[in-house]
Amino acid sequence: MRGLHRGEARAGWLLAAPALLVIAAFFLLPVVAGFALSVTDFDIYAIGDPELVRFVGGANYRTLLSEPLFWKALKNTLYFVLLGVPATMGVALAAALGVTAGVTRLKPIFRTIYFAPVVTTLVAVAVVWRYLYHPRFGLINGVLGLAGVDPIAWLADPRWAMPAIVLLAVWKNFGYTMIIFVAGLQAIPEQLYEAARLDGASAWQRFRYITLPGLAPTTTFVAVITVIGYFQLFAEPYVMTSGGGPVNATLSVVLYMFKEGFRWWDIGYAAAVAFVLFWIVLAVTLLQTALRRRAER
């Protein structure tokens, strides 16, 4: 039996090795290298002459903390997350409830339609939505005009640019979240609803006391992955507002990092920005899971 296990153990490592090597070499190693870079002033001078690099300790981090553009990017990204995550989850939950309700006909068709935006290429739909948001020729102002609303210069107005992107993000992502909610809803035992109905509970009471608590773990999971995903906002501002938007109203942290890294080649500094993003995402994730654990008790 020992021989059997040894062969199995060796096979286990051999089979897992290629994938682990790829992940280690092309993901984990760069992440570590990124941290190393963030404590140097590696930049375009260093690329031309590798001797021109210095260890600078926390200088990059101090700089970004005093750089108004970084704070603007962080504020914008937080605004996007705080607006977008609840909106996406709300719409997704509503859609999930609608798609799983007993009386609904043609469930698969609705599910397919609601999910379709998820698979579309983000750049392509960002291009489409850029035209939808056109102040004069866009469909959105056209529809709003039917309701008597004055045309809004969505992507040009600093107040509306980020909400416009939030709307796009909600449209694109709610289908994915909806499916996860559907899975969560289906996991709630039917007997609970039966018992509640027999006890005379209304639809709202059943929702509040059975559905919502039953969905709690799913909700946490969805919240965590959506928050992590939304913090990485990049393609929408890049395509729709050409990198920054009106008065940098749509500059996101990742976009800021991209500009500092690939436009100015302030590599040490950009690496520091990336790490700050990582720590923020980590902190928010830990916070969310801690809150959930507290609520469960």
């Binding site: 760069p30 469909l139 994915y176 995402v281």
Partner: protein
């Protein structure tokens, strides 16, 4: 009648939602068949009058969108094939093969899921530069050859493979590799189909990394080419819509063909350990 009212209202709401969801996609298709400038009208037209293939002709001839289309196809196929191989091997190993440190390594992988991919991009670019892989297909393929999420998904599914089946094969004298190839892989087929669709779509739709690593327009993938087109042809709405259609249509078709498998995969991926 009163009992039916909630049901009717619900359906109306669902239909309204469906219309709102599908409207941008429908408009994209409609505008792509319009002649130059027809979409720039107040109020925006919903139907091309008359429909024309001019934009597509321009895309494929003058603007040579066939090249990015080919690049996207090659890259998505290559990454899908390779990552299915690597992820399935690793996912099976983590699920059903017993080796020291297995669970700790897997937990570490799961923890690494929280790291945003952008943290790795700059150093990865510099790394690939020293390897001479900037502006090559391999520059896009190599980082995508395996993924933590893919391993996770396969492992999740492989946990359902009965241990007795594997032990029986071992008793019969089959080598571990043989077991993987002949016993496990066929059983993994459903999740491999799902993961394959995932990875194909993910690679096809990927934007930031190809934007960074591909510097020649002959190497661009569709999303990068489309963003580039936007820089020069912003005024040409109908042309851009046609470009968007060419980019989106393949994954949309793939989705419609495989939606059951794909959606089930997402649901499975969300089940807690």
């Amino acid at each position: 009648m009163r009992r039916r009212l909630p049901a009717v209202l619900l359906h109306l709401a669902l239909i309204a939602g469906a219309v709102a969801t599908i409207a941008p996609i429908v408009w994209m298709f409609a505008a792509s068949f319009m002649t130059d400038g027809q979409a720039n009208a107040e109020p925006p037209p919903l139907l091309p009058q008359p429909p024309t293939l001019d934009q597509y002709r321009a895309l494929f001839s003058r603007l040579d969108i066939g090249r990015p289309l080919l690049n996207s196809t090659i890259l998505a196929t290559a990454v899908t094939a390779i990552s299915l191989l690597l992820n399935s091997m690793a996912g099976y190993a983590f699920a059903r093969l017993r080796f020291r440190g297995r669970d700790r390594v897997f937990s570490a992988l799961l923890a690494a899921l929280v790291i945003p991919a952008q943290v790795a991009m700059l150093p990865l670019f510099l790394m690939l530069k020293t390897m001479g892989l900037v502006n090559t297909y391999l520059g896009v393929i190599v980082p995508g050859m395996a993924s933590i999420f893919g391993i996770f998904l396969v492992r999740q599914f492989a946990l359902s493979i009965p241990q007795e089946l594997l032990d029986a094969a071992r008793v019969d004298g089959a080598s571990e590799w043989r077991i993987y190839r002949s016993v496990v892989l066929p059983l993994l087929r459903p999740i491999l189909v799902t993961l394959g669709v995932f990875v194909f779509m993910g690679t096809w739709n990927d934007f930031m990394w190809p934007l960074i690593v591909l510097t020649d327009d002959s190497m661009y993938t569709l999303p990068v080419a489309l963003a580039n087109l936007m820089g020069e042809h912003f005024q040409d709405t109908e042309l851009m819509m046609a470009g968007a259609v060419v980019t989106v249509l393949p994954v949309l078709i793939l989705f419609l063909a495989m939606q059951r498998s794909y959606i089930e995969g997402i649901m499975m991926g969300s089940l807690k350990e």
